[in-house]
Subunit: 378 residues, 2 copies
């Protein structure tokens, strides 16, 4: 008997589950969107995850279904549930991750600290929110955004007129999410993993740096976070996982504010870019842990294996597309760096890989991780 | 451009190259002996590696060919070489690994320390060797032995009469290898990796324990080996790799004798059971390093990530064949242990997986690694 995990979506998160599955002796199968995806090596089916029949056929051959992303529609998830398929995370928590207004509403109901927010249905409501928040706020489309897409800093309702028009065309209760522009000193991320049977573990809190809305660097553990900051972050993430019933990995992106509050920014119910450091830096990586969690197996130790780990994303890559030509110089310069590539073609701004370096001194490790990753820049 | 590695043979060594290839962004393809092999997830072809046409067809789609084992016949390797295929390790060094008498002869020519040995062609020659070596010696078949198969402790030529008969039937220069029974205090193993362009790196020396001729446990680094023992072991392995022109990983199994000599026992020109600890315990695992080496990429750092790493093989597994049923108790008992399974069905004595634990205290780590692995015993 080999345990079988089915992953919907063939991106790099599914890809990075493959090494963990192979080592642990699991059978991993991926429903990819098409040929040549990042996780192609484990793709046993190709098809559209919006199609219930396609997803159900895939699900029948596995013990549990999980995800590379949060975009599988609720009606498809309902078909799986009705067919008795084990799905982790489940449709309930996924609904919260799929819609930013739902997410803000649930977190507010739970009394968790979030930025001031409002669901704004038209220019008038947004104008009122702007007036209450210093004339400069963040507006987000509730669905489909990622890596800075669907997020704008706004000073006038005209800045998001196109989004209001698009929302009106869809009809129904189509609002945008308006949020105060949080005066933050830094961004943090707290990952936890939770099993269906309840066990929950947390990794060390990390500090993240975004560039143009995309995760660029992660330092684990977050410097100067021991004590209150780490305790608060962990308590928030544990509470979110338990109250929403999240299974698998949950990543909570946080703001640390000028006045030392910790606010929830975003949630991701899957392995997350801010946890990639754990492949090389933690006893159990977020990818191994996600597989253990969705199979309801006991969770692994989450401790760091080095005083500090720094992950730097490779964004874009060489303009000539020849990634392989960059390996010799990079590998020679930093033999201790761990290079990870996702089988994706270089393209401006695209996440095609990451580099992790571990060590004792933050400044030294940051320098080496950046320099190693820079070998793959254009 | 993605670098493509072709591996001949679908066993667990090919399987454990898959995670390393996926992380490093390489395209790994396996020529498996049949369906359902350990490395099935990367199998792009199935066929007989004795058949030159099968192997050549597979080799045409990759940048370099390497191996899960050393059994590909020299005439098949010659066809690859004549077709201009990059093959690492090459036919020359592989010939030494394929025949234990050739191996002993080459090591002796190089002046490297080996047990007393002789190629014995009949009972008379073996009797003479027995008389010179205390009446009790080791006899090995030169080819095809592994994990204790093809190795016997002998006090009388009649003990290997069947092997002499089989050798006579094959005809030609068919001898057996006779070796003195080395009075060793312990067994060690030294792994190195070498690129075609010459760069060579060594991992820490390890201590190995065999049971019934099969590797059972490995402690890295070998206790009480710092200084002379480690230096001599490394010098031997480096010399073997350079003199024989080995490319990829070379594992040298060694005896440490009662009188403190270090003798070469066996050679393996591929990742080896004594190096599995490096997946969790070294900055660069033997599997990642082998891929880097055969592609002639710069080699990775080989330092240990913890004071001690202990690997214990899972041999046999549960008699009822239900490996998955053992996961919950094992994972719960040792959340810090790294469990590795090879996708092989349990069968008495069969290597189906291994467990690695790292830590600070040898006795403690040995205890935990053994106890974790024991969860999968019958």
């Amino acid at each position: 008997m080999v345990l079988r995990v089915g992953v919907i979506g063939g991106g790099q998160l599914a890809r990075m589950m493959v090494p963990a599955a192979v080592e642990l002796g699991l059978d991993i199968r991926v429903l990819a969107e098409g040929p040549g995806m990042s996780a192609a090596i484990a793709a046993t089916a190709e098809g559209d995850y919006h199609d219930a029949e396609t997803v159900l056929a895939f699900a029948r051959d596995v013990d549990v279904v999980t995800f590379d992303h949060e975009h599988v529609p609720q009606d498809v998830l309902a078909v799986l549930r009705d067919a008795g398929v084990a799905v982790h995370p489940g449709p309930g928590p996924l609904a919260v991750a799929q819609d930013k207004i739902t997410m803000r509403r649930r977190l507010t109901e739970l009394g968790l600290p979030v930025p001031d927010w409002a669901a704004v249905h038209d220019a008038e409501e947004l104008r009122a929110f702007l007036a209450e928040h210093g004339g400069r706020v963040v507006v987000k489309t509730p669905r489909g955004g990622y890596d800075g897409k669907g997020v704008r800093v706004v000073t006038d309702p005209a800045d998001v007129e196109d989004w209001f028009i698009a929302a009106a065309e869809v009809g129904g209760e189509q609002a945008l999410l308006a949020e105060e522009l949080v005066p933050f000193t830094r961004e943090l991320a707290q990952s936890v993993a939770r099993r269906p049977s309840g066990e929950i573990v947390a990794w060390p809190l990390v500090e993240t740096t975004q560039r143009a809305g995309v995760c660029a660097e992660v330092i684990a553990p977050a410097p100067s976070s021991a004590g209150r900051v780490a305790d608060v972050a962990e308590a928030i993430a544990v509470r979110v996982a338990e109250e929403l019933g999240v299974t698998g990995v949950l990543a909570v992106e946080l703001f640390q504010t000028d006045d030392e509050r910790i606010l929830v920014n975003e949630l991701a119910m899957r392995p997350h870019n801010t946890g990639h450091w754990s492949i090389d830096g933690a006893t159990t990586s977020q990818f191994e842990q996600h597989l253990r969690a969705v199979l309801d197996l006991p969770l692994g130790a989450t401790g760091a294996k080095a005083a500090v780990a720094v992950m730097v994303n490779v964004l874009g890559g060489p303009a000539d597309g020849d990634l392989a030509a960059r390996y010799p110089a990079a590998l020679a310069a930093f033999p201790e760096a761990k290079y990870h590539f996702y089988g994706k073609s270089p393209r401006p701004g695209r996440k095609i890989g990451h580099v992790t370096v571990t060590g004792d001194d933050v400044d030294d490790v940051v320098y080496r991780a950046r320099a190693a990753a820079a070998h793959f820049d254009d």
